[in-house]
Each structure stands twice: as structure tokens, then as C-alpha cells.
């Protein structure tokens, strides 16, 4: 059993990258970020104390299910949350505290040094302007002195860079004339127009076919090689994470529950939630895979307004020590292993979990599927509030 290696500084939870000398100082440091919304039922804690670092040249994958706070935390970094959101904590980007910056300076960062790629490029591109117009606008916002010709040339270069054939013709087309994969590439071209230091990609491949997904991810990697930017890849697709990410942060109920380098997460997961996620992946190599039902994590994601006591995962956890400590004390991230880079887990039973082989977990075949009533763990007010997170303006009553 590995000895409990306490982090020297309780706030220093961001992992150094694989090669600290090449990486240097973190570009982006998030410390104890909390985002909450007032709803009719109470305060909804969408992000509940997340800390991580992003280093140059790396891809940080943030995984978690819907409502785990992965998108909300990135919107908080970009400053794109609606005014109703309460944001506390610290977001330091290249030495500047974003949360205490005036709006004008923050706007200059947006789309410049700090850019974001959104999910569903059809909705995220304005239907009434041409693709070239929208990319050119992103350039002009940060390089206002660039001439029209230079802007157009750069726009076409960007389209070429993301692998859009015949950019000279495509630049004057509208988003609806592009295919799904091309739209997403145009979206990426727009976000890298000003060579950002950190590119946040929020589910960039979710709406795409698998083959197109691979192409878009390849574009992201190519761009990273060229520009030395860091990419924060937010996804619920573990396959995407395994293929692209250097490090992984697993989020659950608004908090980080596990973080390490990508291989550690996939081969030696320590948190029961991560273990469950890995066990629920279909595997080609597993013996008798066709006969067995896939493993599933029982229950529903918890309500973010009425979080379970103690560890928020305990009602769904097969390994929980009940009633204490799992039902009473919320675990913090603790260092468990140093072999390949720091591996941190927020679990009371982190040391016992090292012995659990997730490929041995099987579906409890006899278990009844949850009835529809059970599925309503998320209250209607909460659902509305969560929906609003995806939109910058408040909806009409």
C-alpha cells in the first residue's frame, strides 16, 4: 500500500505535465472555482471548488457527465456566464486574475490569448454572415489595423490550416453551406485566428460522425504543434480523451474527483466513479464480451441543489464505507501516487481502490432498471437553470 503523500500546499493540486522543463510555468491556473445560481428551489452549485493548472503545449482533458460542471467552469474562465451566475475563487491567466479584471481588458483576452471552440458549430456560427466574414471579424477584434486584403488572406490561410478544401471559394459561403465537420473546422479556424495561448474546446466533436471526429481532433493536434498553445478539451467521450489528452481531470457534481496523466487514469483509476466509467466502456479484448451486459454505474447524477451528504458519489458507490466516513465527510483531492506524475484522488477509500481491477466489474444482471420516477432526480427548476447555462442571456418567462 502506497504511503499517503500529502501535497505540500493544499491548494497546489494542479499536476505538473509529463515534462516539467519543457512546460514551464502554468499558463492558466484555476483555484477553488465555485459557480452557483439561484433557483426557485435553492442555490444550485454548478461548480463547487475546482482547481487545476494548464501548462503550455499540453492537452488537458476534462471529463464528466452532464451537470458535472465541466462546461460551466470553462464558461467561467471565458467570462461568458450569465449575470445571474455567482463566480468565486481565482482564475489566473498569465499572471492576471481574470475574476478581478475590468470587462474591457477581459474582452481583449477573449478570442485573443484565450479562445474557445463551441459544441454544435451550426448553432454557434451566425447564419446570416459568411464564414469568412465571421473569421475576419475575430481577427479584426484583436488586430484592428490589419488591412482588408491581409485579413482575407489570413482567413483563407486559417481555413486551409484546418483542412477546408478550396478556401478561396469557401470563404464567401454561409455556415449552412458547409457540412457538419467543415463547420466545426471553421469554428476552430475562428478560435485560433489570433493564436491563443489557451484554447478551450467544449465538446468539439460531440455532434459529429466518428470519422469526422477523428479529423477534427487531428486538426486540433496539428494546430497545437504549430502554435504551442495549450488545449483544454472538455468531453464526455473517454475515447477522445484517450486519443488526444496528456492529462485528465475527472469531474463529478461540480468537483474534481481524480486527476492524473492519461495512462494512469485509464490503466490505474482510483476513484470508484472513474473505475465505473472505465468498466462501462465496451471492450473488444475482454473475454466473453459479447455475452455479458456492459457495466453501468447505478443511480442518477445527484441534484446540484440538494447534494448528498459526505462524498457526493456515495449513493452510487459500490465501495462506500457507510455510514462513515463516506456518508459524512466530503473527501478532498489527495496525492496517491507519484510514479508517472502526480495522481490525485478525492476518495476515502483511495488506497483500497488500487486493488480493484475495473475489467473485473460486471453488470449486476439481476438488477431492475430504474423506473422513470427515479430518473427525475433533477428537479424541474434545476433543469431550467442548467439549460440556461448554455445560453448567455436569461430566457423569457
Amino acid at each position: 500500500m502506497a504511503q499517503d503523500l500529502k501535497a505540500e500546499n493544499p491548494h497546489e493540486v494542479g499536476l505538473p505535465p509529463l515534462d516539467p522543463i519543457r512546460a514551464g510555468e502554468p499558463l492558466l491556473s484555476v483555484r477553488d472555482l465555485r459557480v452557483s445560481f439561484k433557483t426557485d428551489d435553492g442555490i444550485l452549485k454548478a461548480v463547487d471548488g475546482v482547481s487545476y493548472d494548464v501548462y503550455p503545449n499540453e492537452v488537458l482533458g476534462i471529463v464528466g457527465e452532464s451537470g458535472s460542471g465541466k462546461s460551466v467552469s470553462s464558461l467561467a474562465i471565458m467570462g461568458l456566464l450569465p449575470k445571474s451566475a455567482q463566480v468565486t475563487g481565482e482564475i489566473v491567466f498569465r499572471g492576471q486574475d481574470l475574476l478581478h479584471m475590468d470587462e474591457k481588458d477581459r474582452r481583449k483576452l477573449r478570442g485573443g490569448r484565450l479562445a474557445m471552440v463551441f459544441q454544435d458549430a451550426l448553432a454557434a456560427l451566425n447564419p446570416v454572415f459568411t464564414v469568412g466574414d465571421q473569421i475576419g471579424e475575430a481577427i479584426a477584434a484583436h488586430q484592428p489595423k490589419m488591412s482588408k486584403q491581409a485579413k482575407r488572406k489570413l482567413t483563407m490561410d486559417l481555413l486551409d490550416l484546418v483542412g477546408i478544401p478550396n478556401p478561396a471559394a469557401r470563404v464567401d459561403q454561409y455556415p449552412h453551406e458547409f457540412s457538419g465537420g467543415m463547420r466545426q473546422r471553421a469554428m476552430i479556424a475562428m478560435s485560433i485566428a489570433n493564436e491563443p495561448d489557451v484554447l478551450i474546446a467544449d465538446e468539439p466533436t460531440t455532434a459529429l460522425d466518428v470519422t469526422i471526429q477523428a479529423q477534427v481532433l487531428e486538426v486540433l493536434e496539428r494546430i497545437q504543434d504549430r502554435t504551442n498553445s495549450a488545449i483544454v478539451l472538455i468531453t464526455h467521450d473517454l475515447g477522445v480523451v484517450a486519443g488526444v489528452a496528456d492529462r485528465v481531470l475527472v469531474m463529478y457534481a461540480g468537483r474534481a474527483v481524480e486527476t492524473s496523466v492519461v495512462d494512469e487514469i485509464f490503466y490505474h483509476p482510483r476513484h470508484p466513479y472513474t473505475i465505473g466509467l472505465m468498466a462501462s466502456l465496451p471492450r473488444l479484448d475482454a473475454a466473453g464480451a459479447r455475452e455479458e451486459r456492459l457495466y453501468r454505474i447505478k443511480g442518477q447524477p445527484p441534484s446540484l441543489i440538494f447534494l448528498p451528504s459526505g462524498c457526493p458519489f456515495h449513493p452510487r458507490c459500490e465501495f462506500a464505507d457507510m455510514p462513515a466516513p463516506c456518508g459524512t465527510i466530503r473527501p478532498d483531492l489527495e496525492l496517491v501516487d507519484h510514479t508517472y506524475g502526480r495522481h490525485m484522488v478525492a476518495c476515502h477509500r483511495r488506497h483500497d481502490m488500487a486493488d480493484v481491477d475495473h475489467s473485473e466489474l460486471h453488470a449486476d444482471v439481476g438488477a431492475e432498471l430504474e423506473t422513470v420516477e427515479d430518473a427525475a432526480a433533477v428537479s424541474p427548476a434545476e433543469a431550467t437553470a442548467l439549460e440556461q447555462l448554455s445560453t448567455p442571456a436569461e430566457e423569457e418567462e
Partner: protein, 346 residues
């Protein structure tokens, strides 16, 4: 785009033909003033001959009857469809005949009335559009703020207030009481017609024109702005919560640019369609406003013709207003295509 417009124009031709048939058949089914007017002593012979043409099978026989002797006619009516064809073929050539009642050319009455209504519509629509867009955008961008509540309240007042009531109150306040208050013996804003005879020179005439137009245009504007600003508000709210607005913000654009370039441009698409449809309806829809402010517009002409049972004048009126409704429908479609590339290019 051009084929779209041509095709759309082609579609409106059968619509107008059907409208003309319905208008003719219904007008003739509900009233038969012919018999009455054919015998009328007030009619000049010329008018009577014009009237007789196309409605009757044969040229009418005139004879002298009664004591003291006077002229009279007997005629046999042609079938309705034959009358319709005669009327339509002349109408298409611009020949609308003479009024049964006044004997004047229908087209000249129609022309002058149309001009007056058009002035109301142009000023009313211009002012309404500017106000409605500004109010709508402001209300949407500052949703649930004090200005939003105030404009929301005002628009409900505007929507629920009957035109005749608002018009009369406006006359009482701004034409009568305001003069009393200022101790002047002339009305600050006129409540009759569109011009005074005494205004000479460009600027005095324009100033006089503005004083005449102010109240009727305000009456018209209040109704239109109320509904258009609500429409623009909800359309803008819809647009401002779209993903592409968030993208625009994420690009580092200023708030103003996000609202006006990305937001308003999209929010205008449905509003422009509604505006075009509404304007088409205004040509025959200002009956009350024109009546209150004694403006000889299309609405006033309609009431007059209807009261007289003057089918010869009513038919072209109905057709002209129908043409404008269809025309603005067409315009709405074309504008939609112009503003939205997804329609234009498909």
C-alpha cells in the same frame, strides 16, 4: 433569387384573379343598386350610359314616360359572369368607370384618397419602425429592467386602447386644450385634413403639413409600435440567447457590436416580415383614424362608397386594397429571402 421572385410573382396572379371574382360576386350578391340607380333622376345621361355598358345585355332603350314626362330606361341584365368579365377586362386596362352616385371617374377619387392614405402610412410606418426597433432592442437587452417594465406597460396600454378613443383624446388634449393652455387662438396641432390653404413657401408649408399630420400619425403609431415593439423584443430575446451570440462574445467583440451586428441583424428577419404584412393591411385599414381626423383617405372613401351603395366605386377600391395586401405579402417573402441567406440560397 431572381427566379424566386419571378416564381413568387407568378403565384400571386391566380390569387388576385380569385380575389377579383370573389369581390365581384359578393358585391353583386349582397346588393343590387343597379335597378335603383338605372332609374335615378339624379344621374346624368352620360353616367347612366357608362353604367349601362357591360351590365346590360343590350344598349338600354330609353323612353319618355309619366306626367310631367321624363326619361326612363328598360334594360335586361347580363349573367353575372359576363358582367364580371366585362368589368375585369376594363379594370385591367385601368378603366374603372364612373361612380353611380357622383358621376365622377372612380379612378380619380381613388387616386386622391390613395395619396392621402399613403402619406399617413409612410410617416406612421417610418416613425413606428424606428421606435419599435429601439424599444424592442432596449427591452430585450435590459430585460426586466425599469425601462423594460415601462415599455411593456405602455405597449399593453397601446394595444388595448381603441383607436377612436385615443384619436379623440388626442384631439381634445393637443388640438383644443393645449391652445387654451398656451393662450393662443389657433390649434397647435390640427385635427382636420392634411393641409391648410394659407401656408405658402416650402418651409411654412412643411411645418403646416407636420402640424396636420402629427395627431393622425401619432394615433396610427401608437397602435403599430405597441405590437411591433413587443414582437421585436421577443425576437431579440430569442436571438440573444442563441449560441452564435455567445460565440460573438467569445471572439472578443464589444457588447455593442454583439447586440447590433449579430443580434439585431437576426432579430430583424421575423420583424420585417410582420411589418410588410401589416403595412399591406394598412391601405384599407385606416377607416377609423381617417374618419376621426377628416382625412380623405382610402378608409373614408370606403365608408362613403359603402354608405352610397356605390358598387361601381366599391369594386375598384376592394381590388386596389387586395392588390396591396398581395403585393406586401410578396414583399415580405422577398425581404425574408434577402435577409436570410438560408432562404435565399436554397
Amino acid at each position: 433569387m431572381l427566379t424566386f421572385i419571378v416564381r413568387r410573382i407568378a403565384y400571386s396572379i391566380p390569387v388576385l384573379l380569385l380575389a377579383s371574382l370573389l369581390v365581384f360576386v359578393f358585391v353583386h350578391a349582397t346588393s343590387d343598386p343597379l335597378a335603383k340607380y338605372a332609374q335615378s333622376r339624379d344621374l346624368t345621361l352620360k353616367a347612366r350610359q357608362g353604367l349601362a355598358q357591360g351590365i346590360y345585355e343590350q344598349p338600354c332603350r330609353t323612353f319618355i314616360t309619366g306626367s310631367p314626362p321624363q326619361q326612363a330606361m328598360t334594360c335586361t341584365k347580363a349573367p353575372v359572369l359576363k358582367q364580371y368579365w366585362y368589368w375585369l377586362s376594363h379594370f385591367l386596362k385601368g378603366k374603372m368607370g364612373n361612380s353611380f352616385v357622383t358621376g365622377r371617374a372612380v379612378s380619380s377619387d381613388l387616386k386622391s384618397s390613395f395619396g392621402n392614405t399613403l402619406q399617413l402610412i409612410i410617416w406612421g410606418v417610418l416613425i413606428s419602425a424606428l421606435l419599435a426597433i429601439s424599444i424592442g432592442v432596449l427591452s430585450a437587452v435590459r430585460q426586466y429592467s425599469l425601462p423594460d417594465y415601462i415599455f411593456t406597460g405602455l405597449s399593453f396600454v397601446g394595444l388595448s386602447m381603441p383607436t377612436f378613443w385615443f384619436g379623440l383624446i388626442a384631439i381634445d388634449l393637443f388640438s383644443n386644450r393645449l391652445s387654451t393652455l398656451l393662450h393662443v387662438h389657433y390649434p397647435i396641432f390640427y385635427s382636420l385634413g392634411l393641409h391648410s390653404t394659407h401656408a405658402r413657401g416650402f418651409f411654412p408649408a412643411f411645418f403646416d403639413y407636420a402640424r396636420h399630420l402629427a395627431l393622425p400619425v401619432a394615433t396610427l403609431t401608437v397602435q403599430i409600435v405597441a405590437s411591433w415593439s413587443r414582437y421585436e423584443r421577443s425576437s431579440m430575446l430569442d436571438v440573444m440567447s442563441a449560441d452564435y451570440i455567445r460565440t460573438a462574445t467569445a471572439k472578443g467583440l464589444t457588447r455593442r457590436r454583439v447586440i447590433f451586428r449579430h443580434g439585431l441583424r437576426n432579430a430583424l428577419i421575423p420583424l420585417v416580415t410582420v411589418m410588410a404584412l401589416d403595412i399591406g393591411g394598412l391601405f384599407g385599414g385606416l377607416v377609423v383614424t381617417e374618419q376621426i381626423f377628416s382625412i380623405h383617405g382610402m378608409g373614408a372613401l370606403f365608408l362613403q362608397d359603402l354608405g352610397n351603395g356605390d358598387t361601381q366605386a366599391l369594386l375598384p377600391w376592394l381590388m386596389v386594397t387586395a392588390v396591396f395586401v398581395v403585393l406586401f405579402n410578396l414583399l415580405a417573402d422577398v425581404l425574408y429571402g434577402v435577409l436570410d441567406p438560408r432562404i435565399r440560397l436554397s
